[in-house]
């Protein structure tokens, strides 16, 4: 069994990876600019939607209901898709999904495929598997192309090349498309991509897509996109292979009315994205005449045991939580070391894979709650982050080094101190005495040990000479007794 989320079996430690990102001024500027634009657009579109909260509630309800009955809806989807001429495959993990895809491509005699942006394919690292099998994948989404041609990694769920500005994109295209005179005008860059890909769209006989929604009631698949590359990939080839995470199922066609209102506004701040494609199995004379769906687990069923963790699977991959997150906006996506970055990545990747995959991602958050507020399906990300932090700590406490770690001892000590008034007051007295060693100009500038991590970047106000509870005690003592006070 090999559950895989992205390239490596382990994400780098976030605090270390973040430093590299923070030192890259260009990247920070690009991420700042892009997230600022998208946040403002989203806010504008959400504000004009009078029933936004009602839509969020309905989306949350639909997703929770579906996951609770997922076996039923998957079987219903399978039946309807096959009845319409599609073939449904099931994959327990990344390797199984890749093996099915490669088997199909070889069966149809393909040596190259055109792909429309799918995070799920990045999750299972399908491109790497295809290349190993001698199959050339062509990414066709503009941002995915920038990443693929630039031999880079995606840094955002919706806009994978968000960390690149127009000049960097121009340089990649100049080199890889042999267009030495290409300018950095966004229109020129989009035009270059159009020309570069049109011939491939016409030539390549096998398409690979993901799915934004798979509808149980009809067996249909829905792809949400902007550029038209999605329409090309699901319409022009002879064979279409669609990789679908099992959590992408929605019960009915009618449910689209909720998600098609929430997703574009949350993802790109548009009232509606330019194109949505919906198709059901095979349609004679229109589109691919062979259609295969791969239903992928890859760790998803592990999240279904607890109600709280299950909520993670509600995600519709809009990326709003990334754009809203004060941590993501500073570091960009690469620091997360996972294909899913930002707040949703911090909860999704370690759960799909295992806590061993990243023990630092659940801590890559200030818990400010901005992610929860913008989430169109109301995933309580901060609550899940705290829950995962708890799991990491309980795990750590099982080992000797974890038990005697500075953090664990400090926290145990804090629990002891906060547990009794006597101990708390004693600790305050002790602290007031001890801090004299570190006080300078009325501030604590350098604390020892773990606390030094805090004072490395910030000054800390020392404990006041009189604590609040001392002040309160003194005040109470000075007041006349309550009995003598006139009642209002």
């Amino acid at each position: 069994m090999s559950i895989r989320v992205g390239k490596t079996s382990k994400a780098p430690d976030f605090p270390i990876a973040a430093v590299t990102a923070l030192e890259n001024a260009q990247l920070r500027q690009n991420v700042h600019h892009a997230t600022e634009v998208i946040r403002n657009k989203r806010a504008l579109r959400v504000r004009e939607t009078a029933d936004w909260q009602e839509l969020r509630n309905a989306a949350h309800d639909i997703k929770q209901h579906t996951l609770k009955h997922l076996d039923h809806y998957l079987i219903e989807f399978e039946r309807n898709c096959q009845q319409a001429g599609g073939t449904v495959h099931w994959a327990r993990d990344a390797d199984e999904a890749n093996a099915i895809a490669i088997g199909l491509i070889q069966q149809y005699g393909g040596e190259e495929v055109i792909k429309v942006k799918t995070m799920t394919s990045d999750e299972v690292q399908m491109n790497v598997a295809l290349e190993k099998a001698g199959i050339t994948p062509h990414e066709t989404d503009l941002a995915d192309m920038i990443v693929q041609l630039g031999e880079d990694e995606p840094s955002h769920i919706v806009v994978p090349a968000l960390h690149k500005n127009r000049f960097e994109i121009r340089d990649i295209f100049r080199k890889k498309m042999s267009l030495p005179h290409l300018t950095a005008e966004p229109e020129a860059l989009a035009g270059a991509a159009r020309q570069y890909l049109r011939e491939r769209f016409m030539r390549v006989k096998i398409g690979i897509s993901g799915a934004n929604f798979a509808i149980a009631e009809t067996g249909s698949v829905c792809v949400v996109e902007s550029e038209g590359n999605g329409r090309m990939c699901v319409t022009l080839p002879d064979v279409l292979i669609t990789l679908v995470g099992i959590e992408k199922i929605i019960p009915t066609f009618q449910d689209l009315e909720v998600f098609l209102q929430l997703l574009p506004r949350s993802a790109t701040g548009e009232r509606m994205n330019p194109y949505n494609s919906l198709w059901t199995g095979v349609r004679k004379g229109d589109g691919p005449q062979a259609f295969h769906v791969i239903l992928l687990d890859n760790g998803r069923t592990k999240l279904m045991h607890s109600e709280m963790e299950r909520e993670t699977l509600d995600c519709i991959r809009c990326g709003a939580c990334l754009n809203a997150c004060p941590v993501y906006r500073e570091t960009g996506g690469h620091a997360y070391g996972s294909i899913y970055s930002g707040p949703i990545g911090a909860i999704l990747s370690p759960q799909l894979n295992s806590l061993q995959y990243s023990r630092t991602l659940p801590f890559a958050s200030s818990l400010c709650g901005a992610c929860y507020e913008v989430c169109p399906v109301k995933i309580n990300i901060p609550e899940i982050l705290i829950h995962l932090r708890g799991r990491v700590v309980r795990d750590d406490q099982k080992t000797i080094s974890g038990t005697f770690s500075q953090m664990n001892l400090a926290m145990k000590g804090a629990a002891l101190v906060f547990g009794s008034r006597r101990r708390y007051e004693a600790a305050q007295r002790l602290g007031r005495m001890g801090q004299k060693l570190f006080e300078k100009n009325g501030q604590l500038e350098h604390l020892p040990g773990m606390a030094g991590g805090w004072t490395r970047f910030r000054d800390l106000r020392p404990l006041p000479k009189q604590a609040f509870r001392d002040w309160w005690k003194a005040r109470e003592a000075a007041r006349p007794s309550p009995e003598s006070e006139p009642r209002p």
Binding site: A34, R166, M232, T235, Q254, G285, D286, D297, M304
Partner: protein, 215 residues
Amino acid sequence: MSASPSAREEILSRIRAAVPADRSDEPENITRTYQRIGSLRRETCLDLLLDRLADYESEILHVAEESGLPAAIAQALNNAHEHSVLVDPSFPAAWLPQGFDIVPDNNLSIHAMNGIPAVVTTCEAASASTGTIYLVHGGPQGRRAITLLPDHHICLLNRSHVYELVPEALAAIASHSSEPITTISGPSATSDIEMTRIRGVHGPRHLTVILYGRI
């Protein structure tokens, strides 16, 4: 084949082992308190659609009667300096303009379609609040490829098919839910470069909507 359970059985049993034993909740319990029926007057609803279409930089033409359609299609083609136009063979001949090279899609190859600059189709519905046109493919709305490869899509929209809200428009096409459907909101675009919406990548870079019929 090995005797181990199939991937299908294994995934389904993992789900059944995970979800709570009590699964008595019904889909009817989902709270759908969001707006599902529009509240605007017809004229206001139509104005809203025009505003949204213009926001996406679509070209908009108006005709009062069906008899005005050939002239409007001619105008859209002339505006774009185009001389040939692709249509589905079932497209009403009376609506087509004279003096242009009309190419019926008699199972054309994608290479043949790719060389034709424009396509004209009807559509099934529109939602004003989002400026979205709904194509149910087949008949005069064409198969999917014909509205994809030409660079200019001219779409005829009957005013009586304009709904205010997305739920209303989807309900109007729900009886076709198993047919190929494409929703179109303005010309092809991307936000992938610095999050700025740029018109025109792979799909048609020009969209003309011709409104006809009674409100």
